[in-house]
């Protein structure tokens, strides 16, 4: 990152402030998705994933969208783990996540990981490190998911 970009970038707040600002909303989302019991473990997992990646963030933008997306994915993982028959889970956007909404049509039909990777990369301009935290995977796997997603979208658009 160039110096001028660093100066323009939104500073990364201390984690305590980020956590206090978003914890209630994250818990609310997880309770709606998973119910009160399973939401507590998922809450921990969400903020631990965020904390793991937090030291590698390059800027402090879109942190709300970022942590809500981590929560979506943790909920999805929890759902898969506890209901192996795999009911269909709504992984789509909340009303107040515009980038998700704009990309919803394009990314419709992609798997949840690919969809999250594409939206976070191209909708929110997050780094692969940040996306990896969301997906609970490595940065390489995040890059792979985004590129597979984009390839699928292209293929669909040309056929």
């Amino acid at each position: 990152m160039r110096l001028t970009e660093m100066m323009e970038a939104v500073a990364i707040p201390p984690f305590e402030r980020f956590y206090e600002e978003h914890r209630n909303e994250v818990l609310g989302l997880l309770r709606r998705r998973l119910g009160a019991n399973r939401a507590e473990d998922a809450f921990q997992e969400t903020f631990l994933r965020a904390l793991r990646a937090y030291g590698r963030l390059e800027h402090g933008e879109h942190l709300r969208a970022w942590v809500l997306t981590i929560a979506h994915n943790v909920a999805l993982d929890t759902f898969r783990r506890t209901r192996p028959t795999s009911e269909l889970v709504e992984t789509g956007a909340d009303d107040d996540m515009p980038a998700y909404a704009e990309l919803a049509e394009l990314t419709d039909g992609l798997g949840p990981k690919e969809r999250a990777a594409v939206v976070l990369r191209y909708g929110y301009d997050l780094s692969y490190d940040q996306i990896a935290a969301v997906l609970g995977s490595s940065p390489d796997a995040a890059r792979q998911a985004a590129s597979t997603g984009v390839r699928r979208i292209r293929r669909r658009m040309t056929t």
Binding site: I12, E16, E40, Y54
Partner: protein, 184 residues
């Protein structure tokens, strides 16, 4: 939807136990008021008389943005401070995190740490001990910015006339610490 104190505590404990926190901090009640105490995996990193939110930004500049309130991270410091304020402890056994400080500052703080409990010294004397007898004013600046007051006892440093000069926690606090130690 409000996160319960229990869930909140469990997250903070897990974060610290997994080593994911750059700096863990807590508020510690003492006879001279509430202190913000912060530690990294290297040791005690800061004690602050001010507990306002801006302080967290300063903590982040020491070791990284993963600053989280986590009572366990400062258990040792809390215990030793408690013993100090009860008059039962005269020297601290805590390891200190002095990273990101200039060499001159570290040298001055090392000399400061050797000023015994219950005694005072002067800025000029400290300057002499670090080999820069003309640098009393610079030593004063180091005291003024001392990140770990009380444990690094800048309250034991007074002006050449014996006047208290200044203190981040206020002159009344400096006076009380010296009285506690029987220096005044």
């Amino acid at each position: 939807m409000t996160v319960s104190p229990d869930l909140d505590r469990r997250f903070r404990e897990a974060a610290a136990a997994l080593g994911l926190v750059d700096i863990g901090f807590d508020l510690v009640d003492t006879p001279i008021g509430e202190l913000l105490v912060a530690a990294s995996d290297r040791g005690l990193a800061a004690i602050s008389f001010e507990t306002d939110p801006d302080r967290l930004d300063r903590l982040a500049r020491i070791a990284g943005p993963r600053v989280l309130r986590s009572p366990r991270s400062v258990d040792n410091a809390r215990r030793e401070l408690e013993e100090y304020f009860e008059g039962r402890r005269h020297t601290f056994d805590l390891t200190l995190d002095l990273r990101a400080l200039p060499q001159f500052t570290v040298s001055v703080l090392e000399q400061l740490a050797r000023v015994p409990y219950g005694e005072t010294t002067t800025y000029g004397e400290l300057a002499r001990r670090v080999g820069h007898p003309q640098a009393a004013r610079a030593v004063g600046t180091v005291m003024h910015h001392n990140r770990i007051p009380i444990v690094l006892p800048c309250h034991r440093v007074v002006g050449s006339t014996g006047s208290l000069t200044g203190y981040a926690g206020g002159l009344d606090v400096k006076q009380r610490l010296l009285e506690l130690e029987g220096a005044r």
